[in-house]
Symmetry: C2
């Protein structure tokens, strides 16, 4: 967490968040009021945060990783716009460390060259669009970072994504899988496109697939930047 | 800066970095030795850091943003590998907030959906590869984040990139330009593909180009995640 985020939480009068994330910051909570709801209740949480802010209170909405990457920042702005309150409440978006780069740091340096970030969740996005982005980014030799590779209800998307990768990338292309990045029970696997499906993945897992130059060495995944070393 | 990065700097015996970045953390320096060199001296800095570490000292190599995104992390690992020392020195990569997400936070929420990160610097990468990635990501409707859009010596790449964007994206597509993100003399511009070239850009500028759903409203750029709000 950045010191800016910590300061914002300490100065908040109300903290709004998914209950699992509220649990992670409980040592920061002194006398802030907490509004927490379950997963998939994002709109409800956003509306509650706005109601509190409109009543004049300082509200902190928490998100894991970076609030601007598949997080709560956009939804709050969309809800404010719909209510016609977009310029009536000061909104400060505090960036954080998104899983693409926190997972990358645990794997070595896979993101030293151009990369694409793609969520495999087809709850809000048609699978055809996700498929097109997987094809395009694999064909143009991006390093590819997959968010939300699977959940209890979604179990076939990662295999489909990997089959698309294999049309353009070698089976030996390094793949890094990080589950629960930087949290308790973190799991880190370094594998390749051919073998990646034997590892457990869930909503809290990030999968990073190399480009043509990416190599695995000494327990690290390294994508060369192009320097002659 | 994260608290982990701050702790690492405080515990280091030697800090190695590009002189401009060393300047930014001078308030943290107590009695750590400083090794700083100019820009484009990355390999020299990396080699110096490794020499210090091999002599048994605790070394912190600093990078702006996230060291794993076009930063020093990969080069250090590559140099260690070449020396056959990859598993002889413990390396801890501490993730940071990369410009894609720190610039996004200043603009609103442009990265709420799949995005591609592309460096326009053709010093280490052939322009043909950069061009292919620009084409592929624009065609697949990614939000696109451009790093290193221009320098004193490179002045035509951003126009070329924008011309490729216009083959696939509407001239009215929102574009955000952030110079010196979160530093003194920060500049923020919200414009569109048609007008983006009139703004000043340099190596410390990040350019974010929306997807088909991205909109500009109330001084913010918002890419909807797909919720029905």
């Amino acid at each position: 967490m950045s010191s800016r985020a910590l300061t914002a939480l300490k100065h908040a009068e109300v903290i709004v968040g998914y209950k699992t994330y509220v649990e992670l910051i409980k040592n920061i909570i002194v006398n802030q009021e907490i509004i927490s709801t379950g997963m998939t209740r994002e709109i409800e949480r956003g509306a509650a945060a706005i109601d509190q802010a409109l009543s004049g209170r300082k509200v902190a909405v928490i998100s894991s990783g970076d609030p601007g990457v598949y997080g709560m920042a956009g939804l709050i702005l969309e809800l404010l716009e719909k209510k016609g309150e977009l310029n009536n409440i000061p909104v400060d978006i505090i960036p954080g460390i998104t899983s693409a780069t926190s997972a990358a740091a645990r794997l070595g340096a896979p993101l030293m060259h151009d990369f694409a970030v793609i969520s495999l969740s087809d709850l809000l996005t048609p699978w055809e669009i996700i498929e097109k982005r997987l094809e395009a980014s694999a064909n143009a030799d991006f390093v590819i970072v997959l968010y939300n590779p699977a959940s209890n209800k979604r179990n076939w998307q990662l295999k489909s994504a990997r089959d698309i990768m294999l049309k353009y990338k070698a089976p030996s292309t390094p793949v890094g899988i990080v589950k629960n990045t930087a949290r308790r029970q973190e799991e880190i696997y370094i594998t390749d496109l051919e073998n990646m499906l034997i590892y457990p993945v869930d909503m809290l897992t990030t999968v990073i697939i190399g480009n043509k130059s990416t190599k695995a060495a000494g327990g690290f995944i390294i994508t060369p930047r192009g320097y002659t070393v």
